[in-house]
């Protein structure tokens, strides 16, 4: 029977420049990282790296929309996977946080690692904006993923940003 298990979590008690989940057990089939984040600065993206690697092996293809306009972009040979529009910026309404998710299938299998990211930035305002995004990402490395680091595009994650790592098992 398939299971969905919380591996570890962290709710920041003070701001942090990055959050890393290390020593991830290899006992699951897929990983899910869910987070609600806000930046200390005017930035909206979160960067994902695996196993401490910042080699140019990451790519990301993004589609999204804000209140009025659709957007898309493509990044290749980057030093991180850019999970775009997944973090409330400092200029959004106070105490609002994004809701975002990474889904990483087959994280222990010896093959490149395609994975997905989704995010919503909701401003808790009747008049000004939100962002909604989905990003297809790839880490062109065949090693098993043993650690995940999430970094804000700029600044730090504010206190009360929260991160939850789950393991999905298909057995």
């Amino acid at each position: 029977m398939a299971t969905y298990t919380l591996i570890s979590s962290n709710v920041l008690s003070s701001s942090a420049a990055s959050v890393t989940f290390s020593a991830i057990p290899a006992t699951y089939t897929d990983l899910v990282l869910r987070y609600a984040a806000r930046s200390t600065l005017n930035s909206t993206d979160t960067y994902v790296t695996f196993n401490g690697s910042s080699a140019t092996n990451y790519s990301a293809t993004f589609v999204g929309a804000n209140t009025t306009t659709a957007a898309s972009s493509r990044e290749t040979s980057a030093t991180y996977a850019n999970n775009i529009w997944t973090m409330n910026r400092s200029t959004t309404t106070a105490s609002t946080f994004s809701s975002a998710e990474l889904y990483i299938p087959s994280y222990t299998v010896s093959q490149n690692k395609p994975f997905s990211g989704t995010g919503v930035i909701e401003n808790n305002s009747a008049t000004t904006g939100f962002n909604l995004a989905a990003t297809a990402m790839l880490w062109r490395v065949t090693s098993a993923i043993t650690s995940i680091t999430i970094t804000p595009e700029t600044g730090s994650f504010v206190a009360d940003s929260s991160f939850y790592l789950y393991g999905i098992s298909n057995a």
Partner: protein, 74 residues
């Protein structure tokens, strides 16, 4: 003088969370990344704004509303 930025490391095998100060090299990397990211953000948001302006101008030129344009494409 500002506080040294920190990073959080959650060890999934023990459940222990450490809060560690960034090294000087990590702080330098962070500052470099911030400059690049800000430029990228400005460029992306300018493109979104330019696309919206161009779309609005085109609809005006065609003399149709956004709803009518959507109907044509459906």
């Amino acid at each position: 003088m500002s506080d040294t930025p920190t990073k959080v490391v959650v060890d999934c095998s023990t459940g222990i969370t450490e809060v560690l100060p960034l090294t000087e090299a990590e702080i330098a990397d962070m500052e470099t990344a911030q400059v690049a990211a800000e430029a990228e953000r400005v460029e992306r948001e300018a493109k979104v704004a330019a696309d919206a302006t161009a779309k609005s101008a085109l609809l005006k030129k065609l003399g149709i509303t956004q709803e009518e344009a959507r109907l044509l494409l459906s």
